[in-house]
Each structure stands twice: as structure tokens, then as C-alpha cells.
Amino acid sequence: MEMNGKKMLKRLLCLIMLGAMVITLGACSTTEAETKSDSAKGITVTDTMGREITIEKPLEKIVTYNSGLSEVLTSFGSEATIIGRGDSVPNPVLNVEVPTVGKWNEPNIEAIMELKPDAVFTYAANMTADNETILENAGIKCIYLELTDVSKSTEEVTALGKLFGKEDKAEAFVKFHDKYEAIIEKKLKNIKEEDRATIYYEGYTDYKSVNKEAGGQALITAAGGINIAADETAKYPEISDEWVLERNPDAIVKLVSSTKKILGTDLTDQGAVTSFYNTLIARPSWGNLQAVKDDKVILLSSEVATTAFGSIVGELYIAKTLYPEQFKDIDVQKVHEELQKTLFGTDLVGIFAYPSK
């Protein structure tokens, strides 16, 4: 009897869940219809995935799993809109503890729904279609403005400006960015194709480089360099040390992760940076590399090489390393300080590149 009772209960639970699914699916189709009818009057932007996002009014409450976004919102003065964050997103507002809603790559749907935000910002790869439907049905927009492709940084920041009603702030960045991008382009015009410098670009891990599809390529291209590993099959190939020696690149760019505590905001220990640099150029036979002989080796903080705001500074650092003559009138450190003032109104503290240019 007891067994039968348990079975009945199980069946009943299954039926309830089935019913819930049917209702959810039904709700899904109505929401889609509503969105379409509203699209005429709201704010419409295109996100990283190429989807059109339409909202009625600027976002006031959001959850973000993207720390890059939090930086942009801070510069907009919109950091208080963050009411929930992934574990890698720093607490945006002083003295107010914003709750964390799971790991950066695993959005916790229940926790998000409980906070009732207007929208949630995640990386598209970490949001399943089912979860997206559940959130959209609860009136929570899923927006993928990933800020990882530095070649799209101005478009994405502009889109964020619209979504948060801070078009003026976004425009200030775009203006700054475009001004220096134009300067780089103009100077690069003086350099013939055949005189373009080759670059060995190394990520955070020793001998891990990037091919033409990886993030680093955009930075190399913008700075007028030629990536020696562009045609490798793997996106982040482990490159042979002897091959690097034989290719003898004109310049070497090494990225340093902020977690190494060598380069980045608030890190000012010159000794640690110098020692890291000396270990790098002391690799077997690197003393014979043209790049090392010509002092065309640069360490870049991830903050200036991979972020939407910082990448223009990273481009300038690389370009000046490759073509010091052309860029001798540009003080990249000063440009970075100016960018910091423009975006955040604060002074720049930290070492972001070594040797500084």
C-alpha cells in the first residue's frame, strides 16, 4: 500500500511538472509577440550575437556576470544599477554589498529571478536557450554585450550608452578612442606593407600564442603588426620555441594576467616587473632575437590588452614598440592617464606596460 502511495505521488509530481512546462511554453510565445509589437517605440540596440534588443526605457536594475561591463557602468556613473553580480565582478558601490548570484560562467536562474532585474548581462555561451526563455518570460531581458572583441569596443560601448541612457558618456569614450585610432591609422599609412613588423604574441601561459581567429589578432592588426602564428590551426596554439627563434620576429608582445600581481591597477612594484621582464628575455637564445636586440619586447597588462576601454592604449603601446620613430611624439602613459580622467575622473595608479612608452 505504502509503495503504491509513493508511486502515485511520483506520478502526480510528474504531471504537475508537465503542466508547468506547457504553461511556460505557452507564455513564451506570447512574450515574443509582445516584444515585437513594442519594438516600434523603445530603445533598440544590436548585441554581440547580432540580435536586436529592444527595451522601453533605460535599464535601472541589472544583474551582470561580466566584469568588463561593470567597468563601463562605473565610468557611466551607472554602477548603482547593478543589483546582482557574478563572482568575478567586483562590488561596484562602496559600502553597499551587492549580492553575488553564482559563478561568472554559471548564471543562477533562480537567484536572478528573485532579484527581479530589468535585464541580465552574461556571455552568450553560458546561457542556455531554456534558461533564456524562462528569464524572458519573467520579463527579464537577456543581453549579450560581451566586450571581449576589442575591434567592437566602440559599437558595444555605444549600445550600452543607449541601454542605460548615458549616450553622452559613451560618446566621450568613442570620441577619445576614434581620435587615437585615427592617429594610429595615419601614422601606419607611412609604413609600407613590406616594412610591417612581425610580432610574436604570447598570452598568459608560456609559448601559448594566438592565431588569426583569436582575440589578440585584432590588437596586432590595429597596431600595424603581422602575427607570425596567424595561420596555426589551434586558436591558442602552443608554439615551438625553436620556431620562434628561427622566425626571429621584429617584436614580442607578452600579456600578463592581473592575477600575477605584476602589472595592473594599483600595482607599482617596479622590481617585480623588471624581474619578470628579465626572466622573459633570458629564455634560451632569446638574446639573439632581433626583437630583444632592438628592445622591441613589451609586457602588457590584461587591462590594456583585452578590455573595451583599455585596448586603445594597448594598441598604442604595441604600435610604438613596433615603430618607435613614427610614434615618438606620442606619450602612451600620458594618453592612458588622459583616458582615465575622461572616463572615471580619477588619477591613474599602477604599471600597465613595461618598458613604459
Binding site: 563572482d87 568575478s88 559563478k103 561568472w104 560562467n105 598570452g203 598568459y204 601561459t205 608560456d206 609559448y207 601559448k208 602564428a229 596555426e232 590551426t233 589551434a234 591558442y236 596554439p237 602552443e238 608554439i239 615551438s240 620555441d241 625553436e242 620556431w243 620562434v244 627563434l245 628561427e246 626571429n248 594576467s257 592581473s258 592575477t259 600575477k260 600581481k261 605584476i262 617585480a272 626572466t279 629564455r283 634560451p284 637564445s285 639573439n288 590584461s302
Partner: protein, 363 residues
């Protein structure tokens, strides 16, 4: 009962025959070991002659010749590719292959279990935990001033710690082989969970380095590291050869060994210590390289038998050969991109191993 003269002659003949058979077998085994050594030399020559750069056999010969008679045509870069990149890497492959193979040989011998490898007792999990601490929280340990040796020191320390934990747990119970294996597997899982936890909470930027480490790499091992592996290996091989008879008797089982007068516990402890040391030292510098320690002792047994006097040198050579071949393929197959050696060892080792199993069973 007295033996007749003819019977006596017959028996002496049999003994002579047995002696002859033994000598034949012995010389066949020695010949086999010499052939393996030759194969290793040939493989090393091939390996040093191919790579992602244009340095080929001719250049390598010129570079070596340049040491004795100065050759103008040799560039610094060519010299460095041979002496600072290929030679250390090939030596590392040979030494690590030998170390892991002997560690496996000892483990399988003392535990009488064909599934045991140097990693069964959780040594590699402990090492991975140490390595992940160094990779993810390295900046917090900067005060130790270990520099580039922080990672190997941590990996080594945690491998040894794992071994001590395993041994401690086994000692608290009845200290049989199966308790040791069970304790090892369990503690291995614990460290593996800790590694997962570190991966889970760490910054995405540091993950590739950790993942890369767990796939093994023979590149960039400093000469100091090579020297440490060489010393540990040489000491271990001398000890193993010295105790070869005891180890042979032990493979007949604990009871037989004790009845013959072997200090079973001492030899078991010694073997346990040696195999842990060999694994820990190798793994600390190269990351986790699986499979060699499991299969090369088996291949050795299939080809040459259980006598440690022969199986120690043979398994050393087979381990070295396997790892050197795997690494040479790994660094050339899609050059200049290098495939992690851990992947290649399994890709070429598994089919070869299965072939040997099928052939042996077929017979």
C-alpha cells in the same frame, strides 16, 4: 636409494642442458636489452635532427663538430637550438620515461596488481594540487623567493605529502597492499576535488596554464631540474638492481618471500618510497604524463619476463623510448604548434599496448 651410473649421467646432462638453456635465455635477454639501447640511441638521433625549425641532421652534426673545431658557418641560434632546446628536451624525455616506467614496475611488483601505476596512490593528484596552488596563488607565495622553482617545489612537496598521508592511513589499519591502494585512490580523489575547487574559484585567465600543466610538457625544463631527475633516477636504479633478487622473490607473494628470509616489510617500504620519489620528481618538472608508468612495465614483462635484473634496465629503456617517440611526434606533427605529450603518449601507446595484449592472448 642409490642412483645408477646411467641415471647419474642423465641427470648431469639435464643440469647441463638447463644451464645451457639458462645461459641462452640470459644472453637473449642481454641481447634484447642491447637492442633496446641501440633503438633508443637511433631514436634520439632522429629526434635531435627534426623539429619546427630548419635545423636538420647535417646542421646538428656541424654544431657538434663546432665544439671541437670552430665552424664559421654555424650561427648562435643554431647552436642554441641544438644545445639549449633539443638536447635538454631529449634528455628530459629519456630520464622522465625511465623514471615513470621504473616507478610503475616497482608499484606493480609490490602490489601484485597489473592495474597499478605511479599515479594510483594519488601522487599525481597531490602534485597537481601543489602545481595549481603555485599557478593560481603564486603571487601570494612570492615571499618564499623560489622564483621559477615555486611550481616544481610545490608539486614535489604535495606529492610527498600525499604519499605520507596514504602511508599513514594504511599504517593505522592493517597495512596490506589493498589498504594502501584504497587509501591512495581515496586520497587521490580528495586532491583531485581540491584541484577542481581551485579551478572552480579561480580567474579564467589562469585556467589555461593549469590545464596545460595537467597535460604534461617536456619543454623548458631547466638544467638544474634535469640534474635533479637524473640523480633521483640513478640512485633508484642502483637500489633496484641491488635488491633485484629480493624483489624477484617478493613477486612470488608475501608468504613465500618471508619464508625464504626476505625482509618483506623493509623492501616494500623501500619500493614504495623509490617509486613515489621517482614519480614526484618527474611530475614536478613536466606536469602529469600518464600511461607510460602503466604500460611500459607490462610491455617489459611481455617481452623479457619478471626477473628484475633484466626488467629494470629493459623497462627503463622502453619507458624512455615510448616517451621520446611520443614527444618527437608531439612537437613535429603539426609544427610549429606542439601537441601536449600527455595526449600523444596515450594516442600511440594505447594501440601498441592493445596489440601486445591481443598477440599474447592469441598465443
Amino acid at each position: 636409494m642409490k642412483m645408477s651410473k646411467t641415471e647419474k649421467i642423465k641427470m648431469e646432462k639435464n643440469i647441463d642442458q638447463a644451464k645451457l638453456n639458462y645461459m641462452n635465455k640470459r644472453s637473449r635477454k642481454i641481447l634484447f636489452i642491447l637492442l633496446l639501447a641501440l633503438a633508443l640511441v637511433v631514436t634520439a638521433v632522429i629526434s635531435i635532427a627534426i623539429g619546427a625549425s630548419s635545423v636538420n641532421l647535417k646542421t646538428v652534426i656541424q654544431v657538434f663538430g663546432d665544439v671541437f673545431v670552430h665552424n664559421e658557418s654555424i650561427t648562435d641560434m643554431q647552436r642554441d637550438i641544438v644545445f639549449s632546446i633539443r638536447v635538454p628536451r631529449i634528455i628530459t624525455a629519456i630520464l622522465v620515461g625511465m623514471a615513470l616506467s621504473n616507478a610503475g614496475l616497482l608499484m606493480q611488483g609490490i602490489f601484485q596488481n597489473p592495474l597499478v601505476s605511479p599515479y594510483t596512490l594519488g601522487v599525481s593528484n597531490g602534485a597537481s594540487f601543489g602545481a595549481s596552488l603555485a599557478i593560481i596563488f603564486g603571487s601570494s607565495f612570492a615571499f618564499l623567493n623560489f622564483g621559477e622553482f615555486l611550481l616544481p617545489v610545490f608539486a614535489f612537496a604535495f606529492s610527498v605529502l600525499t604519499m605520507m598521508m596514504v602511508y599513514g592511513v594504511a599504517k593505522m589499519s592493517n597495512n596490506t597492499s589493498s589498504t594502501l591502494i584504497l587509501a591512495g585512490v581515496a586520497i587521490g580523489y580528495l586532491f583531485s576535488a581540491l584541484v577542481s575547487l581551485i579551478k572552480y574559484v579561480s580567474d579564467v585567465k589562469d585556467l589555461p596554464e593549469l590545464v596545460f600543466w595537467t597535460m604534461g610538457s617536456l619543454s623548458g625544463v631547466p638544467w638544474e631540474g634535469i640534474a635533479i631527475i637524473a640523480v633521483a633516477l640513478a640512485g633508484s636504479i642502483i637500489l633496484m638492481m641491488g635488491f633485484a633478487w629480493d624483489l624477484n622473490i617478493m613477486s612470488a607473494g608475501e608468504e613465500t618471500a618471508i619464508s625464504i628470509g626476505v625482509n618483506y616489510k623493509r623492501i616494500k617500504m623501500l619500493s614504495f618510497g623509490i617509486s613515489t620519489l621517482l614519480t614526484a620528481v618527474a611530475v614536478s618538472f613536466t606536469g602529469v604524463i600518464g600511461f607510460i608508468g602503466l604500460v611500459s612495465p607490462h610491455i617489459t614483462k611481455m617481452l623479457i619476463g619478471n626477473d628484475y635484473r633484466y626488467s629494470v634496465p629493459a623497462s627503463s629503456l622502453i619507458g624512455a623510448l615510448l616517451l621520446l617517440i611520443a614527444d618527437t611526434i608531439g612537437r613535429n606533427i603539426i609544427a610549429p604548434t606542439q601537441l601536449p605529450v600527455g595526449i600523444v603518449t596515450s594516442m600511440i601507446g594505447v594501440p601498441f599496448f592493445l596489440y601486445l595484449i591481443v598477440r599474447k592472448r592469441g598465443k
